[in-house]
């Protein structure tokens, strides 16, 4: 590939002409902003839609947390009973006081809206019935079956509607063509189609809440293990079916997107943009797309098989003799329950890397820019991402250590899983190397990037515990796993997303976000997210199982009530402090400080070479040429501490005649045709 990169690819040239031609005709509002084929508009469509779905997924998370801390059936504490006794209550009076004890706490506001008016225990005992809510009447408290819906949909929304589309859809779309110097994606129409397919997936998943009178959407966990999900039952009814359809559509959108990114990166790189001159954000998007392209069709086929089992009488996953509460399942027979897990995790383990690799790329770029240093070990960074992607395909069995898989396979998957910690460790060391000896400015993007690195360390290290098959016996399906995945995906990927938003916002919208609010947002988020997720390790070590609607049945879970309440309070605070971000984001769109330079961060990669916000076709005139790598910061021969990719090194050397061209705000020079390569 790199041999062809010095010369413009034929595709790039033709597309460049095509893009330039586009600039001339006026487009209708609908064509320009709604049914757009411009990668930047599509990227922003993903961004705005994902901010909405993030709120939905976050709300579901808060409801999950609330249920764990305050499940129905609260009893008076021993101290309370003692107090009643000291007040002279005894016998029937004491029993009545205990029976009328009001310990249940419905979820604020929504509890009563969804599950009816909360009456006092005395009224309920007297036979009174309150006003029903949208999903029926359970005295404002979430029923166990809806709790299952809440965590299933929380995970599904966060994975399929927030993190994957935010990282690949929003950042992938917006950043890739600008960073490689392409006028647009290789298949602009497919790109738009991908977004609309994804949006229909999102709508179908959201719709699934309203198809059942009790709001029973999918409730078999985001992993949807059959037979729980494979047989139509009241708790796995139409909502589960819609969920499968939604996931298939989401997958289809991913396949279209990844095909597009791969083709774009292979064919449409600007002159001089060899593969090893690409910024790591683009590299990560490239590697992620390959993962997506290979893994997602497997998920789609699994979903199709599940749908067939549910509705068309097949039994891919249903073994003989299946009997639900005395009812035989007629079509069951010949299927393999564990087959689903193999197929599902063959997608879903790579999906974990789909959700973290792009964030790693973004964070790498941001650390380099904000510490004014070349990336330490650029090629090892690329190789380690490739290794993560490659190994990512041979570790899926670690989700199945306790599933009854052949134990010899367990050993194999343990070794491969342990090995995947290596490239992740290499990346962390290289980020540290990049910070070493730099000029670190603690801007919001860098704070979030450092947040990513420091928290990813925790998520990565906790992975070693569960990679170890014998110890996984104990922590499998406990809160330790929940802690791990949230350290990787929330305190990891979501930090990466925030970092990316703060970093590219000025280029996206031509205005700055507030620095102060950004820092406030970071510190509040950082504190409260650890308050939510760190104690999960501790209760997990105590054996606290995940997906429990109530801890009240178990003696060994009772001591963790206080810790669960603490986590829930932190979660509510974490949710509330995102208001700071939302305000900053939307307020800055209208009233943020206008950018005065096309390259406000003095960054090197090509997206900073064009006007702000970038026009349709990305560059007025031809695309820039990449003369060197994207991480030439603080080069000893340069006057400035950066050397943009679109300037030959000779022109930015301290003794060169035209230092002004590299100075901030020199946007006049930027749109001009790049000078010919010097050699």
């Amino acid at each position: 590939m790199s041999t062809t990169a010095a010369a413009p690819a034929p595709g790039a040239a033709t597309h460049a002409d095509h893009g330039a031609g586009h600039g001339h005709h006026e487009m209708s509002f609908l064509r320009k902003w709604v049914f757009s084929t411009d990668h930047k508009v599509i990227g922003l469509q993903y961004l705005f839609a994902c901010i909405f779905t993030l709120l939905l997924g976050g709300l579901l998370a808060l409801m999950v947390r609330w249920q764990i801390a305050y499940p129905a059936g609260a009893k008076p504490s021993a101290e309370q009973v003692q107090e009643w006794k000291s007040q002279g209550l005894s016998g029937a009076k004491l029993d009545e006081a205990i029976a009328n004890f009001d310990g249940d706490k419905p979820f604020p506001i929504l509890g009563e809206l969804l599950w009816g008016e909360e009456l006092s225990k005395a009224d309920v005992n007297a036979g009174m019935v309150g006003e029903p809510g949208l999903f029926g009447n359970s005295n404002g408290m979430m029923p166990a079956e809806w709790y299952n819906v809440a965590f299933t949909m929380h995970a599904s929304v966060m994975i399929f509607l927030v993190i994957i589309p935010m990282l690949t859809g929003a950042f992938g779309n917006w950043v890739i063509p600008l960073q490689i110097g392409a006028k647009d994606m290789a298949f602009p129409f497919l790109n738009g189609l991908s977004f609309w397919t994804w949006l229909s997936a999102a709508l179908i998943l959201c719709l699934s809440f309203f198809i059942d009178p009790a709001g029973i959407s999918a409730g078999a966990g985001w992993t949807s293990y059959p037979p729980l999900s494979g047989v139509v039952t009241p708790t796995a009814g139409p909502g589960q079916t819609l969920w499968c359809i939604g996931v298939i559509l989401g997958g289809t959108s991913s396949i279209m997107g990844s095909l597009n990114y791969i083709t774009t990166i292979v064919n449409l790189r600007a002159p001089g943009m060899s593969l090893f001159r690409m910024p790591l954000t683009t590299w990560s998007a490239f590697i992620t797309s390959i993962l997506q392209l290979f893994a997602t069709p497997v998920l789609s086929s699994a979903m199709a098989m599940l749908l067939f089992d549910r509705h068309m009488g097949t039994s891919f996953f249903l073994p003989e003799g299946l009997n639900f509460s005395g009812v035989d399942i007629p079509n069951a027979g010949g299927g393999q329950v564990i087959l689903w897990q193999h197929i599902f995790w063959f997608y879903s383990h790579p999906a974990v890397y789909i959700m973290i690799l792009p964030a790693m790329g973004i964070v790498s770029d941001i650390i380099a820019v904000w510490s004014r240093k070349p990336i330490f070990g650029y090629r090892p960074m690329v190789y380690s991402m490739s290794a993560i992607a490659g190994l990512g395909f041979v570790v899926w069995g670690h989700h199945m250590f306790q599933a009854g898989m052949n134990p010899v396979l367990g050993t194999t998957f343990m070794i491969s899983t342990i090995m995947i910690a290596l490239p992740s460790a290499v990346k962390v060391f290289n980020w540290l190397g990049t910070l070493w000896g730099g000029q670190i400015t603690f801007s919001p993007p860098l704070l979030f990037a450092l947040g990513f690195v420091s928290m990813f360390v925790i998520g990565g290290l906790s992975g070693i515990y569960m990679a170890n098959a014998p110890f996984d016996i104990f922590i499998h399906d406990t809160y330790f796993i929940v802690a791990h995945i949230h350290y990787v995906l929330f305190t990891g990927s979501v930090m990466g997303i925030f970092a990316g938003i703060y970093h590219w916002y000025p280029k996206m919208f031509g205005r700055h976000m507030s620095d102060g609010l950004g820092k406030l947002h970071f510190w509040l988020t950082f504190v409260f997210m650890n308050g939510v997720f760190f104690p999960m390790h501790i209760i997990g070590l105590g054996g606290y199982p995940r997906r429990y609607a109530s801890f009240r049945g178990y003696d060994f879970l009772a001591p963790y009530e206080g810790m669960n309440v603490f986590m829930t309070i932190c979660a509510m605070a974490l949710g509330l402090c995102q208001i700071v971000f939302l305000f900053n984001f939307f307020w800055s769109l209208l009233a943020g400080k206008k950018v005065t330079s096309d390259n406000p961060w003095h960054a090197n990669s090509l997206e900073w070479s064009t006007t702000t916000p970038p026009p349709h076709g990305n560059w007025i005139g031809p695309v820039p040429t990449a003369y060197h790598g994207p991480y030439e910061y603080s080069h000893p021969n340069c006057k400035e501490d950066y050397a943009p990719q679109w300037m030959p090194m000779q022109r930015v050397y301290a003794d060169a005649a035209a230092p002004a061209t590299a100075a901030p705000g020199a946007s006049g020079a930027v749109g001009a045709p790049p000078p010919a390569p010097a050699h």
């Binding site: 029923p143 166990a144 079956e145 966990g221 037979p227 729980l228 073994p319 003799g321 299946l322 329950v337 564990i338 510490s371 240093k373 990336i375 330490f376 070990g377 090629r379 306790q402 599933a403 009854g404 134990p407 010899v408 343990m414 342990i418 090995m419 290596l422 290499v426 060391f429 290289n430 540290l432 910070l435 070493w436 000896g437 730099g438 670190i440 450092l450 420091s454 360390v457 925790i458 906790s462 070693i464 515990y465 170890n468 014998p470 110890f471 016996i473 104990f474 499998h476 399906d477 406990t478 105590g542 054996g543 199982p545 997906r547 609607a549 049945g553 178990y554 003696d555 060994f556 009772a558």
Partner: protein, 280 residues
């Protein structure tokens, strides 16, 4: 929070529960190794990061170090963790085989007790083979959510005096469940259409009631709910795989008792089952 009559707190908090199976300590030992390795790494990496953030904060007077990497460092921080991680994997293989792999010599060859557990929404049906120790005969009996087994006596040095290995033939009739016995470090999915093979031994007998009997009543708490009175202790067994709306209610009690007590209990139950079968 719950305290035995002899003052022993039977619940645990902040840390791993006590381990009562013969392989429990091996499993925990792996945990401690990983714990210290990851803690050292964590402190090292985060400490270095904080130090760099402080030392290399923006200061135009200081010259920035221009470097694109170091081959020897890359090799070092790839190879050293690789060696540690592979060693950890190799060290874990034996415990894994002992607990899970019937084809491995370290897996017990002989089981003094075998029971069959068929999970369903939302209960555990435990079938005991009865006096004749054979399944499928008239004297089999089935209990719901009660798993009683003989405990394995050990001497002061922790060496086994009499082996008491329990084998569980595990399956499910509807969805996937998972048999999770925290204090024995046991977890195995109960998969419909598939007969799982789980084993454990329990080296600590559950506490007998004041009458010295093990298998009469359920445990009872005092009025304040904190102290167990007139009771026999039991270990809790939970379902660890989402199985529907009653997932968090699938609680089973395990009692590990001296063999003589266990056999007496089995005889009563088994005789009754046989009588019922003959009568019906």
């Amino acid at each position: 929070m719950q305290v035995r009559p002899d003052g022993f707190d039977v619940t645990w908090k902040w840390w791993l529960p006590p381990a009562h199976s013969s392989f429990g300590d091996d499993v925990d030992l792996l945990f401690y190794w990983i714990f210290w390795i990851t803690m050292l790494t964590f402190v090292g990496v985060e400490g270095l990061m904080l130090y760099f953030c402080f030392k290399y904060r923006r200061n135009p007077a200081r010259k920035t170090i221009y470097t694109k990497g170091s081959h020897s460092l890359e090799v070092a921080w790839t190879v050293i963790p690789a060696v540690i991680l592979v060693a950890l994997g190799v060290a874990s293989a034996k415990t894994w085989a002992t607990t899970k792999d019937p084809a491995n010599p370290s897996f017990p060859q002989e089981f003094q007790t075998t029971v069959k557990i068929i999970a369903e929404q939302f209960a555990w049906k435990v079938t005991y083979p009865g006096n004749d120790k054979e399944f499928g005969t008239d004297d089999d009996f089935t209990e719901t959510n009660i798993l009683n087994v003989p405990f394995e006596p050990t001497n002061a040095d922790g060496e086994v005096i009499t082996e008491e290995n329990v084998r569980v033939l595990l399956s499910s009739k509807d969805v996937i469940h998972s048999l999770f016995i925290p204090v024995l470090r046991v977890k195995q999915d109960a998969v419909p259409g598939f007969l799982g093979n789980v084993w454990f031994d329990c080296q600590r007998a559950t506490y007998a009631g004041p009458d010295g009997k093990h298998l009469t009543a359920d445990s009872k708490y005092s009025e304040d709910g904190r102290t167990l009175v007139d009771w026999e202790e039991s270990y809790e067994i939970a379902c660890a795989e989402l199985c529907g709306l009653g997932h968090s209610q699938m609680r089973m009690q395990l009692k590990a008792v001296p063999r003589a007590d266990w056999e007496a209990w089995v005889k009563v139950k088994s005789d009754a089952a046989k009588a019922r079968a003959a009568g019906g």
